[in-house]
């Protein structure tokens, strides 16, 4: 029985919520082990430099922020699940266009997502730590978004387009790095060792997240969306 557009969309959203919940939980565990100790360490240097009270984000003190401990972790888990659901929806959109996927080819899609959302932006912008010296936020956000879109589009063209169009894909892929990311003017008080470890920690954490999301959404799509006719 063919699915209607609404039926297909509903199934994709349900699969994305499921994968997002699992991925968000996994990300939270990885964060606790890998990235969070480094963020807290950087925040001590940030607060020492600015004279602010420790315990949270860097917004103005009168702004609400979650209390340290369970409340902060609860919001982090929720935000992780929502972001992972967003990633899952984008993967599932790709599966829908390409018609078929397995958990194995889902892993390849996950690697593509990792390349687009993590690796390519990190080639220009180091993962930001609290207290580090950074270029203007709007400029960094614009370059980040542009790089994600160009990398995803470029990879899709290279993977799926006709040979001549693949060259256009490669050019689009390289374009953000030819333009170049905004660079900061000074240096921060956060030790370079912490910043270096944070690069390794975020690469590891995000790679595992994307592989898990790729395999999970691939498996769920083949089981619940494309039935038994998935074409790998």
């Amino acid at each position: 029985m063919p699915l209607s557009a609404a039926g297909l969309a509903l199934r994709l959203v349900l699969v994305a919520l499921l994968a997002g919940a699992v991925g968000g939980g996994l990300l939270t565990v990885l964060q606790a082990i890998k990235t969070e100790p480094l963020i807290r360490a950087a925040e001590t240097f940030e607060h020492a430099a600015t004279g602010a009270a420790p315990g949270g984000a860097t917004a103005a003190p009168e702004e609400w922020e979650p209390a340290p401990g369970l409340e902060r972790w609860s919001y982090t888990l929720l935000a992780n699940a929502l972001a992972a659901t967003g990633y899952a929806l984008i993967l599932l959109a790709g599966f829908t266009i390409r018609r078929g996927v397995t958990w194995r080819s889902g892993l390849i899609w996950g690697l593509g997502g990792f390349a687009a959302f993590v690796l390519a932006p990190m080639l220009g912008l180091p993962p930001p730590l609290p207290g580090t010296e950074l270029a203007d936020l709007a400029g960094r956000q614009a370059w980040w978004i542009g790089t994600v879109v160009a990398t995803a589009g470029g990879l899709a063209l290279i993977a799926f387009a006709e040979p001549r169009t693949k060259i256009a894909g490669a050019i689009i892929l390289a374009l953000p790095h030819v333009i170049g990311a905004p660079t900061p003017e000074g240096f921060s008080a956060v030790p370079a060792e912490i910043a270096g470890q944070f690069v390794s920690a975020t690469l590891f954490t995000n790679l595992v997240l994307w592989l898990a999301l790729g395999a999970l959404t691939g498996l769920a799509f083949s089981r619940f969306v494309s039935g038994s006719r998935s074409a790998a």
């Binding site: 029985m1 063919p2 699915l3 557009a5 297909l8 969309a9 199934r11 994709l12 959203v13 990300l27 990885l30 964060q31 990235t35 969070e36 963020i39 984000a57 860097t58 917004a59 103005a60 702004e63 609400w64 922020e65 979650p66 902060r72 919001y75 982090t76 929720l78 935000a79 992780n80 929502l82 972001a83 659901t85 967003g86 990633y87 929806l89 984008i90 599932l92 959109a93 829908t96 018609r99 959302f117 993590v118 932006p121 912008l125 993962p127 930001p128 609290p130 950074l134 936020l137 960094r140 956000q141 980040w144 975020t202 954490t205 995000n206 619940f224 494309s226 039935g227 006719r229 074409a231």
Partner: protein, 64 residues
Amino acid sequence: MSTNQSIQAPSIDAVSVDRQTRAAVAIAMVVLGAVLVWGVGFAHPAFIHNAAHDTRHALTYPCH
């Protein structure tokens, strides 16, 4: 639609959905996904920033 038909076809088949419908649904999913990622990673209100602070750092979104 006869009940017989739905009994005979228990498996769901998105593969047979036509190309235009699949493209439209895929675009809607990308938009929805992008809205979620933008909301968690880029929305400016301070309470959203503070709630999603550690997530933004872990996912390497531009922050601060």
